[in-house]
Subunit: 370 residues, 2 copies
Amino acid sequence: MNTVPFQTVYKSLQALPYIRCIGESWPMAKERAYFEAITLKEHGGLCPDHVPEVYHFDSSMCLIGMRYIEPPHIILRKGLIAGIEYPLLAEHVSDYMAKTLFYTSLLYLTTTDHKSAVAKYCGNVEMCRLTEQVVFSDPYKVSEHNHWTSPYLDSDAGAVREDNLLKLEIAELKSKFCERAQALIHGDLHTGSIMVTGDSTQVIDPEFGFYGPMGFDIGAFVGNLILAYFAQDGHAVDGNDRKHYKVWILRTITETWNLFYKKFTALWDEHKDGPGEAYLPAIYNNPDVQLLVKQKYMKELFHDTLGFGAAKMIRRIVGVAHVADFESIKEAKKRADCERKALNFAKNLLKGRRNFQSISEVVSAMEKLD
Amino acid sequence: MNTVPFQTVYKSLQALPYIRCIGESWPMAKERAYFEAITLKEHGGLCPDHVPEVYHFDSSMCLIGMRYIEPPHIILRKGLIAGIEYPLLAEHVSDYMAKTLFYTSLLYLTTTDHKSAVAKYCGNVEMCRLTEQVVFSDPYKVSEHNHWTSPYLDSDAGAVREDNLLKLEIAELKSKFCERAQALIHGDLHTGSIMVTGDSTQVIDPEFGFYGPMGFDIGAFVGNLILAYFAQDGHAVDGNDRKHYKVWILRTITETWNLFYKKFTALWDEHKDGPGEAYLPAIYNNPDVQLLVKQKYMKELFHDTLGFGAAKMIRRIVGVAHVADFESIKEAKKRADCERKALNFAKNLLKGRRNFQSISEVVSAMEKLD
């Protein structure tokens, strides 16, 4: 949710009965405030350094009283548009993702605790349906909500709607999103849901929180960094061609995945004797099989990440809600050129994600296309 | 649940607070009667021809009043041991599986209805945990509950516990079982959960019902037919070598999958305009992409079926609860020979399931091993 300052140390968020960025024509259940509050509390307990504290939740008013994230914190997306480097970003976000995803998965939970948590978050169905529509459906069909930089991208948008292999892949990801209760995910972890300074990173707005596939969160973050990368040429000005900054974005993408991998598997090692019930110690605690299951799990998660990341990119270019990274490029032709590169990269990533074995291969492919 | 006759047209089932086949040492929540009752009602509404009607459920007594499935109905497993052919079995069971699985999946349901049903069945966690233990865990580790035809299968049972690739595959299936809410499955669809005559087939005992992977049901049935096949040599007597009967079992396996495929995809065609939200008509209703998504969906379901089927076979040979197909072979050496063939086939199937493109290839592999 968007936030309204309350006083200097508190912030109050109140859910509106419609989607703010679209208006009253698209109603939205106020209950999302409840799921935002409980996800903030759950994730905050697991990763207090990067999740603002909730002081109070009033369900009748749909009101959350929480830590006021003070200046100079700004929304990460704005920082990426301004060309500001955040040297600790990959470290912090990988920390948040590793902890929140690991500790809410069956790698740490018993199946009893997992199933009861899954049931609780099934109530957040309206927010899931919004994601289903805007991420997995609308971009692939004619929809009144879709728009793009016209006329430049008219044929590109049309090509998305005619691409059968793309539709095949997006269907697989939608099915994972709807059916696979892997962990308590944030559900909307783009660069507009993160507030930053040079040494602080705070993840906000988990109103889409539910038990879904981990790759949806990691992909949202990585996909939005890729969007930021392809938008940089549109922000280049005399004296600052953004080349150096683009290198930093690529490094941040690489470090995010690699640090996530390291931290997530370290948590797995630390808790390999329980209480998680996915891999019982009596079966999986010999080093050979430990390595095999970990490699297999992380490989699937990597490919999920790339797939969901690509899906989140596509929807930001030809779907309903666009991102300031591109929207702030005033010249339409220039904006369309940036968007087309991002769109083509995303389409190839979605269809060919299983061909990538490491994040550095992804980054190389980005550089090649650029 | 095992059943106690009540009167000639009713049957009452009362849940005991422990697992009947093991005894009071293994307690079990009486709430399973509730999930049995609601699954019977749900599946019965979708496929009344093959699910007995529930007349009354008393939650305080954990008591179900339901149709008495009258003689000459017998448990299918007993018929398979006796060598009785059921010419309509594949037709009926494929009908039951196609209807119950299709209509409770996102191919037919809205995500709102699906998520609310998923939440309701999350309460059946204790039965899911029993399956997790006896199917996906115990056979792959030392467990006091495990037993096998000793000493003949000692090294075979040991080999299962040392097979890292097998453990890798069973972990993937366990994760699907725990995390993937694909459809309302029966959860225990072996040949002991089906009552038959020459022209009637009734599916009983869905106390394990929950939203899980469809392949778990189809695999349970197919896997238990494969067990029945490999047990036949142990039932051969002078004058009846069971060769003809084995051909019938193979044909039934082939027909079950092929008829299921046909009926399930026919339901999909029939309802391709909704209300199911997995494949929206505006995106998927051109013939090319329809075919592609269907092929992909059914291929994954086929491989799930083989994987879960193999897992259900393995647990019946080296796990806690065995099947009468083998147990009724009195001579231990002969029984062990039958079981070893089935076990080896199941291990290869679990590890190599993705190499099979059709059910006839599976049947050929069975004949080759035999």
